[in-house]
Amino acid sequence: MIITPHELQLWIDEGKPFTVVDFRPKVQRRESPLSGLNAVIADADTIPKCDGAMVLVCQFGIVTEEIIVEKDLDDTFSLLGGIQAWEAFQNEKQDMSRWSRQTVLSEIGLEGQKRLLNAKVALVGMGGLGCPIAQSLIAAGIGTLKIIDGDKVELSNLHRQPLYNIEDVGRLKVLVAKEKLKQLNEDAVVELTEEYLNDDNGLNVVGDADIIIDATDNIQARQLIDQISKEFGIPMVYGGLYRYEGQVAVLNVNGSPGYSDLFPEPPSVNDTCADAGVLGMLPGIIGHIQALETVKLIVGIEPNLVGKLLVYDGMKHSMETIEL
């Protein structure tokens, strides 16, 4: 069983009896002393016997979860996110434990998570790419997600747009998406634009974002996003699909190449997913790569796809990265 820092604080406030057992090595105990908890020191071989509930703590809450499962301990809880999450809760009264599986990554950590929580991302297009992007960004803790699309859910969308159900057919995608996304994280701010991005609304809709994600299905929209992205210095995460292939690039970052550098000519004869066909998994894969690149940009993780075009082939499962 697990307990979050918030729940543990409630136990303390209610005066519930419990014993805290600290499983961290001496070095970690010295570097990050427990604040507000009197702990018994132990290791996995010397678990004390206590009356009442035990709360096991380690640095990130992973070791203690394993101990509880391995030893089949009753009435014993692992502190989710460990001391890292407990200290953040004590210092800032913010429970970060739900993101403990990603804050344990040294490249993310609590600082990275705070950047995600403070980030504002504009997602243009709530179709095949937009659905997985929105789901994974909201789940990752993006603070504000602006979703922009004037389209309504159609029956033929459902095989690749997992935010929508059969009951949603005919409803505006952004309205349905907001309902589903709020279920994933009720604290996230989801702002809606119930129309397509165009020359008139473009700057107003995406101009205040930290990053603009292109999940559209037409090149004209991509060119408009690129134009705003380049002019106002807002990075653009591009994704596109053709049958079993997808492309991803991170564009216009501190003067790095943009979409117009990659494809400078006017739109050519081309196919949408409706024309060319697409399996639902392909936008899932490409959308998640776009979301990953977005998180890397916000947190500041390298290497990334800035100045590169990634081409994924879903038939051979091969990837090519081309330097722009």
Binding site: G128, L129, A215, L241, E245, L262, V269, D313
Partner: protein, 81 residues
């Protein structure tokens, strides 16, 4: 003569029905003339499709002369999302 490998993406792959094509070319052949050969091989299926060129995984905005062993990719913009 030089030998180069062309890697085919999206519409190019479907137009040629191949992932890769090996070309034996005269010395001095440029990316532009190789693109013309690809379009000829596609028998009209690439008409109207704009292609960008990468040589050895580096995007090339203007035509260059090819060298023996080069790997060339012709990349169309893709629209779906």
């Amino acid at each position: 003569m030089i030998t180069v490998k062309v890697k085919c993406f999206s519409q190019v792959k479907y137009a040629l029905n191949k992932d890769e094509v090996i070309f034996e070319l005269d010395h001095g052949t440029t990316t532009d003339s190789l693109e013309s050969m690809i379009r000829d091989n596609a028998k009209g299926k690439l008409d109207g499709v704009r292609l960008r060129v990468a040589v050895n995984r580096k995007y090339i905005p203007e035509k260059i002369e090819l060298k023996d062993g080069d790997e060339i990719a012709f990349i169309p913009p893709v629209q779906g999302g």
